[in-house]
């Protein structure tokens, strides 16, 4: 089982709960933590489910709802905003046909916004899964999205 194999990497100490949640979520196609998994993690760490849930619901990178295979995060903060002359947010929205915090019907993408991801010197940027795409133009952004979509057909 996926969760068990990840749990085995960690000592049975409560302070590893965030590390464990991040690892479990990363391995999952639908990018979220289910109630079953919360139960298992709580049992392993000898803590309560409510403790695991309190952590899970606090941190933005963790999700309690199923998401798409690829998580797209578009930066909405000032340094990206002032260098974005083509409206990256709208470009991505239009390409995917979804709004923020929504998942495409083929479940390939979930669109999210993010706080600054520390690449302001190469703004505007977006992060897809664990890669940051920098110095975006409209064409470049669409090309990247097409590549992600293409890989899944």
């Amino acid at each position: 089982m996926l969760v068990d194999s990840i749990l085995n990497h960690y000592p049975k100490e409560k302070d590893y709960v965030i590390e464990i949640l991040l690892d479990v979520q990363k391995e999952k196609e639908d990018n979220f933590i289910s109630q079953e998994e919360v139960k298992k993690i709580a049992y392993y760490l000898d803590t309560t489910e409510s403790h695991v849930c309190s952590v899970l619901s606090f941190y933005t990178l963790l999700s309690t709802k199923p998401r798409g295979k690829n998580i797209i995060q578009v930066c909405k903060d000032v340094p990206c905003y002032v260098r974005d002359d083509f409206n990256l947010l709208k470009t991505v929205k239009d390409f995917l046909g979804v709004n923020f915090n929504e998942t495409t019907t083929d479940r390939i993408f979930t669109l999210e916004t993010t706080a600054c991801i520390g690449c302001c010197d190469e703004a505007p940027v977006m992060r897809i899964n664990d890669r940051v795409y920098k110095n975006l133009t409209k064409d470049k952004a669409i090309k990247i999205l097409k590549e992600y979509r293409g890989n899944d057909y």
């Binding site: 302070d15 965030i18 933005t60 909405k76 000032v78 706080a115 690449c119 010197d121 940051v132």
Partner: protein
């Protein structure tokens, strides 16, 4: 104008190779340091007059001495939860010279007698996390970490802990809570982390850049280091320059350099021949200043009127296409989202501030709104538990001083708009 100390290895070494680091004098200073007495190291740090580089600017030696006096089990934490919009220096340090951070941490640990360290890196910094984990592993394989470091009596280990997308975890107590595996909500101070930090043990928390400075200080000597920089702050600073300039990027300059020099000489001036309208200093929690103030030093004490100096060294340049209230609105939406929710003035206050600023953005503002905004930001500033609320309103406080006309004009325009509607 640039003075290269912290960034001397940038793009010259492979961050995945400890061999490259060793070839460039790496871990030599640690070797020397382990022959010194902890007190001698602390004296050098004291002489250097270095202050923390994370934004608050607290004297590093005082912080370290405060912990040294305690006798219990101690922790050391490198705060790499860089989340302030406009800041990217810590990412560059981790991605380009990871071992200098580790070396600085080991020296600090030896000085205060800590046995275990954490590098808390925000979860979005995937590359930095990967590089730091690899660097720690390599350092351990070469006996710079682990038991009896370099045949000395001293043992110390470091582990990476990832954040999961909460800006507030850059605040020291929120960070401690997060390392303990809890939601990142701050604690009431005192006691301070130096008295009761991780699992209630004394904990030294420093910014990435502060740790990187320690090998440099020991290398050149505290006295020589104190000569660098300005009358107020010693040393050099990494400046994250972003926004509408020709060459945004990371620049290392001595304290005392002016904002104008950074923007014009290093950044090449405002992009596309447009006019400079405003500059935000330090990040979203910093003051917004107009063009006529850019002759100020990056360490100018004047910023203290907003309780926020240069922060961690971000300069965000905005040209005249942008509306002041639109920018403030984005800043405030950020804080509304990032408030941890523990204390009421921050949780509810930012929500109300956003509503009021929206009125200015949409030309619906009245004189009353301005009064409400003024008293609200004062309450947030004075009554929140942690640094988030104490600094978040700097962009409003500063613009009420420097861009007062913009506020007045917006109120008049709003009035005119409502009259035409009738």
């Amino acid at each position: 104008m640039e003075q290269i100390l912290l960034s001397k290895r940038f793009n010259k070494i492979d961050p995945y190779s400890i061999k490259d680091y060793l070839k460039s004098n790496g871990y030599q200073i640690l070797r020397e340091a382990l022959k010194m007495k902890p007190k001698e190291i602390l004296d050098e740090i004291k002489l250097s007059k270095i202050v923390g580089r994370g934004g608050a600017g607290f004297p590093t030696a005082i912080k370290m001495a405060g912990i040294k006096n305690e006798t219990d089990k101690k922790y050391i934490v490198c705060n790499a939860d860089e989340g302030e919009p406009g800041n990217f220096k810590d990412r560059h340090l981790m991605e380009k010279d990871p071992h200098s951070i580790i070396e600085g941490m080991i020296i600090s640990a030896y000085t205060i007698g800590a046995y275990h360290g954490y590098i808390y890196i925000r979860g979005e910094y995937d590359t930095a996390i990967d590089i730091m984990k690899n660097a720690i592993e390599e350092a351990r394989n070469n006996n710079f970490l682990g038991k009896n470091i370099l045949q000395s009596e001293f043992s110390f280990n470091i582990e990476v802990r990832r954040g999961a997308g909460a800006y507030i975890c850059g605040e020291e107590f929120a960070l401690i809570e997060s390392i303990e595996g809890k939601p990142g909500r701050t604690r009431v101070k005192p006691p301070y982390p130096s008295q009761a930090g991780i699992f209630n043990y004394p904990t030294l928390i420093n910014n990435v850049e502060t740790f990187c400075n320690l090998p440099i200080i020991l290398d050149m000597g505290g006295k020589a280091y104190a000569e660098l920089g300005s009358d107020y702050i010693s040393g050099t600073k990494l400046i994250s320059l972003s926004g509408n300039v020709k060459k945004p990027g990371l620049y290392e300059v001595p304290y005392g350099t002016t904002i104008k020099q950074v923007i014009e000489e290093l950044g090449g001036g405002v992009d596309q021949g447009r006019n400079l309208k405003m500059i935000q200093l330090g990040g979203a929690c910093g003051p917004i200043i107009p063009r006529n103030l850019i002759d100020m030093d990056i360490d100018n004490e004047r910023f203290e009127i907003f309780d926020s100096k240069m922060g961690a060294g971000a300069i965000i340049v905005m040209d005249d296409r942008f509306d002041l209230f639109d920018i403030i609105h984005r800043n405030m939406k950020f804080f509304e989202h990032e408030s941890c929710g523990k204390c009421m003035p921050c949780r509810e206050g930012h929500r109300q501030v956003v509503t009021l600023i929206e009125k200015f953005v949409h030309y619906n503002a009245t004189e009353d709104d301005l009064h409400s905004l003024k008293s609200l930001v004062d309450v947030i500033h004075e009554t929140t538990l942690c640094g988030l609320g104490q600094t978040s309103i700097a962009s409003i406080l500063s613009t009420m001083t420097f861009f007062n006309e913009d506020y007045q004009r917006r109120i008049e325009d709003s009035k005119r708009k409502s009259e035409t509607l009738w």
